[in-house]
């Protein structure tokens, strides 16, 4: 019962945030002179050689059709209303399809990749962190810390570039720029073969993302575990006659995990951003490249919807992390004193 309450409360708090984000994203597109139609005119004029005046009537028509001639506020409120009543995020001007469809293919992919890399990255980070802490100042620690350090420091897009170079020029790999090979794209559902094909396409994303993602966690886990090992209850555990392994894994690690879990929300955020960055470089059709193209096309609804979607993902990620924390830690119910 309490969980439900908490969940609802968090969602309610998130609503003004999302509203704010949607307003800002709308405002951004509007802040700059020129809308989608102007870009279309510029492009068409370049391609067909027609002048601006010749294209004007067409442009005017287009504006009316798309509703771009109405005042901003109206456009925004209509859009908002549609979202709330019909889950209709508008239409993509560029692709002439509902925004939900456009994003609908790409968002789940980004999400899936982000979640995969999050899980793998965190597990590796935790294990590495434990390893480093238990071998403090020895070779194992230095190696693990170095791996973590490089992960933090490494420019993701740079490494992606380098990998791209090898893929395209050196290995002539056929797996670039797509999620699946043509024969699997239309296939519904996942088979092991399709999954393997998928991995062959996206392994650079996974590699770079996981390496970057584990870094912060490794360091944090190492630091936490070292702190926890100095706690009195670890000494108690040893004094009970427990083996070193049991002391470590049953008593120390669960407590050290606490801040790592707390951070899962921000790690998820990082994974999403990382995926976007790498996908842009590698040309993989997920959210990243879509943002770029939508912005340069001034495809308004797509842009705003993407912003909202990403924000929703982040909010959900944070809620999830808080939930996990509450489940794991009985101390979360605690009294706080305020001056009264």
């Amino acid at each position: 019962m309490d969980f439900l309450f908490f969940f609802v409360k968090r969602i309610l708090i998130a609503v003004p945030l999302l509203l704010g984000i949607s307003i800002v994203s709308f405002a951004i597109i509007y802040a700059v002179p020129g809308d989608f139609v102007d870009t279309w005119v510029a492009n068409t004029s370049a391609q067909t050689g027609k002048s601006y005046d010749e294209l004007l009537p067409q442009a005017q028509q287009m504006r009316e059709r798309l509703g771009l001639d109405r005042p901003v506020i109206i456009q925004y409120s209509v859009w908002l209303k549609n979202i709330v009543t019909a889950a209709d995020f508008g239409t993509s001007f560029e692709q002439n399809r509902p925004v939900t469809e456009v994003i609908g293919t790409r968002l789940p992919r980004t999400l899936m990749l982000a979640v995969m890399t999050l899980v793998i990255g965190q597990v590796i980070g935790i294990l590495l962190g434990i390893y480093a802490a238990t071998n403090q100042y020895k070779l194992g620690d230095n190696l693990a810390t170095l791996v973590a350090f490089l992960g933090i420091v490494i420019p993701k897009f740079v490494i992606s570039l380098v990998i791209l170079y090898f893929l395209a020029i050196v290995w002539h790999s056929p797996y670039i720029g797509a999620i699946n090979s043509p024969k699997y794209i239309l296939q519904e559902g996942w088979t092991p073969a399709k999954f393997w094909d998928f991995l062959k396409h996206v392994w650079p994303v996974l590699l770079v993302s996981v390496w970057a993602g584990q870094a912060y966690t490794t360091r944090m886990m190492r630091g936490n575990l070292l702190d926890v090992m100095n706690m009195q209850y670890i000494e108690t555990a040893r004094a009970k006659g427990l083996s070193r392994g049991k002391v470590l894994f049953k008593h120390a690690v669960p407590n050290a995990l606490h801040p790592v879990i707390m951070n899962l929300g921000s790690r998820f955020d990082y994974m999403i951003k990382g995926e976007i960055e790498i996908a842009i470089v590698l040309g993989i059709p997920t959210l990243g490249p879509l943002i770029l193209s939508a912005v340069s096309d001034r495809d308004m609804y797509v842009v705003s919807a993407i912003f909202m979607m990403v924000a929703v993902l982040l909010v959900l990620g944070n809620i999830f992390a808080d939930l996990m924390l509450a489940l794991l830690d009985p101390r979360v119910r605690r009294a706080t004193i305020t001056r009264g």
């Binding site: 350090f149 420019p155 924000a311």
Partner: protein, 371 residues
Amino acid sequence: MADISLNAEAISSAANLTYWQLVRRRLLRNRYGMVGLAGCLFIVFTVVFSGFIAPYAPEIKDRVAVYSPPQTIRILAPEGGLTRPFVYGIKEQMDPVTFEITFSPDETKRANLAFFVKGDPWALLGMDFETRLIGTADGSFVHFLGTDSLGRDVFSRMVAGTRITLLMGVVVMAASCIIGTIVGVSSGYFGGSFDTLVQRVVEFVKSFPDLPLYLALVAILPRRADPTTIFILFAGILVLLRWADLSRELRGKVISIRSMDYIRSAVAIGASDQRIIGRHIVPNTSSHIIVWATYQLPEVILLESFLSFLGVGVQAPMVSWGSMLNQVRDFQSFAAAPWLMAPVGMIVISVLAFNAFGDGLRDAMDPYSNG
């Protein structure tokens, strides 16, 4: 009266060191931090003396050598034995079948290198200079890292780009530090409704999907505007989203310092809020601020590099490492001229150096963390 002699409470005879002297001592002992510091100094040196180090000004075009490969410095003469450093010229060949243009060293054209040659004028602190560190004895072009699509020397541009990239980093770091400190300290110290308001704002800023925002904002900046304006706008956007982080951290720190007894003592002697903030709180948060700032620099460098790489950041004629990489976005040029990736090296070096230094600094300032 208790016998003091039995108590041996000798005041430590170690030289009294200020906190900062202690930090310096600990830092000097930290290997990684020192290596990082060396890297940072190297970068700073490059920034200051970029005009001196680069053989040519970044806009200079060598019309005969477009997309030409790097020329290696050689010191072994073909006849054997060491000789003064020289480079071979480049000759072009076109493969008749594929029409691919290849370059190879032309052993007939040999140019000796010279130091402190007279080159394009450059300025530092309002003074004009003409001497450059390295060049050819006969004044011909030498390209240590090759040239780009317009025949511009990659090495020179890379060195020049250090200035812009670092400038962006320093400006964003300084501005977000100042804003974050003011907001964080005051909201932590004064609390109340001001604090609640600030917290909501910070939450909003932090929840904002920043990468999409950068992409969007920077993508729609008017391209035809003056590059300096774009630079300032770009920096402004970065600051806008980054100050919130420091603000939140400092707020937490200030709240914990606020409950310290020395703060209560200061109130008890009648100190004013300004005095308490200025003399008691900020000095005890300064280490946190400095460490945060040191980590900001590499983050901003990476961000700027990425956005400029996408073509949405620093604009010509300004040159930054990221904007140089913009040329390799086109796959063909990437394949044809992989040396255009050279700025990657500088990015990696600077990011590694600043992070290592930041780590060393953090360990030196807080020896009780298990870093």
